[in-house]
Amino acid sequence: MKPDFDILLQDARDHLPDTSAAELGFETRLRAQIRELSRPPAFLDEFAAWLWRSTLGLIPVLGVLVALFLLSSSLNDIPSQADGLIAYLTHAIPTFSQ
């Protein structure tokens, strides 16, 4: 005969998982973890963290610099004289030849 749901729950409730192996040396591991977390960060760790933060902070600045560079280089291609500008624009207009 198969057990009904209430009996299943009762049986599951009566099961006490054996945690003794996991509990063995628990405080020692915990203390080691706490010591690790309490340890003041070493100079190199702090420097690496500072470098990383600075690099992240510089990304927008670098983006603006690259945009400015691209803009200025494209502006340099446009001739400054009026005749040259007309010729430049004329070439830019598409023509249809037969």
Binding site: M1, K2, P3, F5, L8, L9, D11, A12, R13, D14, H15, L16, P17, T19, A21, A22, E23, F26, E27, R29, L30, R31, Q33, I34, R35, L37
Partner: protein, 188 residues
């Protein structure tokens, strides 16, 4: 006369930087944390990680312990909330668990196996049934059905309202029962 330091004394000493005091506190409450965590974790590694997480949260949060309620209440709230967070973090993995993972002796050889074996298999079946629930319902069912805590106690531990706990428990239980009966039919 007992020379055992009280929980409040150990908390004060820990806050003052006494690591050994915290180890004593951890040893005092370790079995309670392991008992509850073992209902949520699968396997030894998960259990170790979960309990370590619980005690690190306790250690970090000790300064916020005001001492107006017993330490145990405050501690158990952290235990339950960490277990709930653990379920949420591992949601994907648990969703992939198949209900009828393998046919168990529990359904096929009742009466032929030892009570310990039967209870362990029942626990595994309940775990698989609960993997079909969301994390909130699973937390409630674990505390209500496996830990035999009252609705009021669960509401206090989780911070959810009593009516919410009641409604969720009812629906979750119904869903589990239906899944179990479907599985029983499939096995017969």
């Amino acid at each position: 006369m007992s020379t055992e330091p009280t929980d409040a004394e150990l908390v004060r000493q820990t806050i003052a930087g006494d690591e050994a005091a915290f180890a004593t506190l951890a040893a005092r409450y370790r079995s309670r944390a392991f008992g509850t965590a073992s209902r949520f974790a699968r396997g030894r590694q998960e259990l170790e990680d979960l309990t370590q997480d619980i005690f690190l949260k306790v250690w970090k949060g000790l300064k916020s312990f005001r001492g107006d309620a017993p330490f145990e209440h405050w501690f158990m709230r952290i235990v339950v909330r960490t277990c709930y967070d653990f379920l949420r973090k591992n949601r994907k993995r648990r969703e992939n668990e198949v209900l009828a993972e393998n046919s168990t002796d529990y359904l096929t050889r009742q009466g032929e196996v030892s009570p310990e074996h039967r209870q362990r298999e029942a626990f595994e079946i309940v775990q698989r049934l609960m993997s079909q629930l969301n994390e909130k319902d699973r937390t409630i069912i674990t505390l209500l059905e496996l830990e035999e805590r009252s609705v009021r106690e669960i509401a206090d531990l989780t911070g959810w309202s009593e009516s919410n706990v009641k409604v969720r428990a009812h629906r979750a239980r119904k869903k589990m029962k239906s899944l179990y009966e479907t599985q029983m039919l499939a096995e017969s």
